[in-house]
């Protein structure tokens, strides 16, 4: 049987044994659950957090403005649906003169101090309308959401009152004041429109994280597999039947296949979970809010084209082969899990150096740094897919970087195979760098 046949025998074993393991099944099911949970939680919070604003209905409004502004604000608070459904508790308006204010305030303060009573009180003075100043005291004064909400409402009502005083028609004022303004952003590339800008950003981050995580995770798996073969001494029998290079390649291929299977499962399960969790979450929200919530995570994925998926796949394979073979070399040098962490440190540093620069690339995907990182074989598999999600990368750059990355890959595999060939049969103390260099020369 030729080397290719044996390569597949090795790959098949790596693949099947890992797929069968309990650990794989648990991880495959658990991660999408956590992942979708982590994505849905902020949406859920955003959709429901306003319900806590109900406390704002249980306040008193001490109105010394002499313009009926207090009544206006009370009405707004009563009818604002984002504060939750009306529940019978309504803000109390106390109209007072400026002279009466201190006494009334003291009175309200004692009420607020009682448990389960008034939450707080808003004071409107005669300068509220002219100087845009009001004050609020209450138990929830540190609740940012409540205070933000109240500030918005008061500002809106002050604006309405002032516009009306200037003679603007009431319905126009109302319309202007309640309109929310949405700015849609859409990215235009050389190939035309390509969906929402923020969606691309989000998809870019997710792709980057996924690539990085799976390279680290499955790279470590390769290392552990190599270490197992070495420490159980099964390596010698295997190497007497198949060339070390073929064993190394089969291992990387098999574990890589597991990685791809797992990611496909993750994406599939996550998409499935989202598809029926989303309607439950957005139930009871207005159509617009629901659409916005759905758009927040769904929109990003809608923009990913088949070509992009293909590109991500190509870079995953290149990046994985590059790092996994280095991890395998690290695993072949040592005899224990602790030593392995040390031996793998240079590989991890290479990976981390890329990861730490991801943020910079996200902020400015066309910077000189981003372009340079697209050409380095150890960073391009993560950086290029990220940039493609964010900006326009010329096909020449993509093709060139793939060629360079493949060359880097060949170099890494060559180097690793030589270390691996010698390392697999070396027991005893961890080799020094000088020794490893000798292995590379002699193998």
């Amino acid at each position: 049987m030729g080397n290719i046949g044996k390569l597949f025998v090795v790959a098949k074993r790596e693949y099947m044994e890992r797929i069968r393991s309990r650990w794989f099944i648990v991880m495959t099911l658990l991660v999408p659950a956590i992942f979708s949970g982590a994505m849905l939680f902020p949406v859920y919070v955003a959709a429901r957090s306003s319900a806590s604003g109900g406390a704002l209905r249980n306040i008193a409004i001490l109105d010394a403005s002499g313009t009926g502004l207090g009544e206006q604000i009370a009405t707004t608070l009563k009818t604002d649906t984002t504060l939750g459904r009306p529940d019978g508790i309504e803000p109390r308006v106390i109209v007072a003169t400026t002279a009466e204010l201190p006494a009334k305030e003291r009175e309200l303060q004692t009420q607020v101090e009682q448990p389960n009573s008034l939450v707080g009180y808003l004071v409107l003075t005669d300068s509220t309308l002219t100087n845009n100043v009001a004050s609020y005291s209450g138990r929830n004064a540190s609740t940012i959401n409540d205070i933000d909400k109240l500030r918005t409402i008061v500002r809106q009502d002050v604006m309405i009152a002032r516009l009306q005083r200037e003679g603007v028609r009431a319905d126009v004022v109302k319309d202007l004041a309640t309109a929310t303004f949405r700015l849609k952003s859409e990215r235009i590339t050389e190939r035309g429109r390509s969906g929402s800008g923020t969606g691309g950003f989000l998809a870019g981050i997710i792709v980057g994280v996924l690539l990085f995580m799976s390279i680290v995770f499955h790279g470590q798996n390769v290392l552990r597999g190599v270490l197992e073969e070495k420490s159980t001494r099964v390596a010698e029998v295997v190497i007497s039947s198949v060339k070390p290079e073929v064993l190394l390649a089969g291992k990387v291929l098999g574990v890589g296949g597991v990685g791809l299977t797992q990611q496909a499962a993750w994406l599939g399960i996550t998409a499935y979970l989202m598809s029926f969790v989303t309607p439950i979450l957005t139930k009871g929200l207005s159509g617009q809010a629901a659409a916005a919530a759905a758009d927040q995570f769904g929109g990003g994925f809608a923009t990913i084209s088949l070509a992009t998926i293909g590109l991500v796949l190509v870079y995953f394979i290149i990046g994985f082969v590059f790092y996994a073979s280095l991890y395998a070399a690290a695993g072949s040098m040592v005899n224990s899990e602790q030593e392995a962490q040390q031996a793998a440190a240079p590989v991890l540093i290479l990976l981390m150096s890329t990861w730490l620069l991801v943020n910079t690339v996200l902020v400015n995907p066309n910077s000189k740094l981003a372009v340079a990182l697209s050409w380095l074989p150890w960073s391009s598999p993560i950086i290029v897919p990220l940039r493609v999600g964010l900006t326009t990368v010329s096909p020449i750059t993509i093709a060139g970087s793939i060629v360079v990355a493949i060359l880097g890959c060949i170099g890494a595999v060559w180097l690793s195979a030589r270390i691996y060939r010698v390392g697999m049969l070396m027991y005893g103390k961890k080799p020094s760098f000088a020794e490893v260099a000798r292995w590379i020369r002699y193998a």
Partner: protein, 321 residues
């Protein structure tokens, strides 16, 4: 078709400044049981690893059945039991065996039925349990060794290489191994094993090669080797042990070059030009009560000690032959 199973010509292997194997040549006839003998650190394992293309020789050539060992498929005809044994711990026994056979170019469909045959033969299938379905680490050490041995033979190799096969075997498994080796020979297979236990080698091998410090000391068929060493040896049995007078005779360097004293039984080597009859007469005169006095061929053990000496073991080696 070559009638040699293995033909090694002047192979050299250096590790840094240390020479593990020095211009070693050896020929193993087809269908023979061949012993590779030598003290620990002599270069046995290094030689075997080069035969299996696990290590590359720095110089020299290795042919298996007339073809370079690096040729396609040549090593698929070889079964190898390394000194350091081990299997994938978390894998099912049956799957490990299948995997290792597939690596030797076997088709899964052909191997599967043979796995059961072998498991039964080695007592790994009992009415209570089929150990083939268990994971490797559920098996006892002895059972794991049997599985490893099955893995060596499952693909029906024409050449079987066993590196220190008796180390760590209990007497029952050791006997089973000897039987298996002889059966392989009957079926026309070639078996090479390395050992530093000369006794096993003498009983089982057709031919041997003794190596020390990476160099060949001697080789040939066991009969030739013994003949070459001459019959200057005498087995002496005394009832009641040796008293002073007898010991004095044995210490006479005109008669006896050296002797091995195990109280009632002695192996002697005559001094050059000494006459065995003179020795016998002197012993009788000294009052020895002789039960046995036999001119004999030296054992491999003696030849080994004679040719290699105690210094044959090189110090500072990794422990791998």
């Amino acid at each position: 078709m070559s009638d040699l199973a293995i033909d090694i010509r002047k192979i050299v292997k250096r590790f840094d400044e240390h020479v593990a194997v020095r211009e070693l040549s050896l020929q193993v006839p087809r269908g023979s049981v061949y012993g590779l003998l030598g003290p620990n650190g002599a270069g046995k394992t290094t030689t075997i690893r080069m035969i299996l293309d696990v290590l590359l020789p720095d110089a020299g050539t290795i042919e298996i059945f007339g073809r370079p060992n690096t040729d396609y498929g040549v090593l698929d005809r070889v079964g190898y039991l390394p000194e350091e044994r081990g299997l994938y711990k978390k894998m099912q026994v049956r799957r490990v065996l299948l995997f290792l056979a597939e690596l030797k170019g076997m088709r899964a469909a052909d191997v599967a039925p043979r796995i059961d045959e072998w498991l039964e033969r080695f007592g790994l299938v009992t009415p209570q349990k089929n150990w083939g379905d268990a994971k490797v680490d559920e098996l006892s050490r002895g059972m794991q060794q049997k599985v490893q041995f099955i893995a060596t033979l499952l693909h029906d190799p024409d050449l079987v290489i066993l590196d220190e096969p008796f180390s760590g075997l209990d007497p029952i498994n050791a006997q089973a191994l000897k039987d298996a080796v002889l059966e392989l020979k009957r079926r026309g297979k070639t078996v090479i094993f390395s050992t530093h236990v000369m006794d096993n080698a003498e009983k089982m091998c057709d031919s041997v090669c003794i190596i020390a410090r990476g160099e060949k000391v001697l080789d040939g068929s066991v009969a030739e080797v013994k003949r070459g060493a001459g019959t200057r040896n005498i087995a002496l049995g005394l009832s009641g042990g040796a008293h002073n007078g007898v010991t004095e005779v044995l210490r006479d360097s005109q008669l006896v070059r050296k002797f091995d004293d195990t109280n009632n039984y002695f192996e002697l080597e005559l001094a050059p030009n000494a006459d065995a009859q003179v020795l016998l007469r002197r012993l009788v005169d000294a009052g020895a009560s002789i039960e046995r006095f036999e001119l004999m061929q030296p054992s491999l053990h003696q030849i080994f000690l004679q040719r290699v000496g105690a210094s044959g073991v090189e110090t500072g080696m990794s422990g791998h032959g």
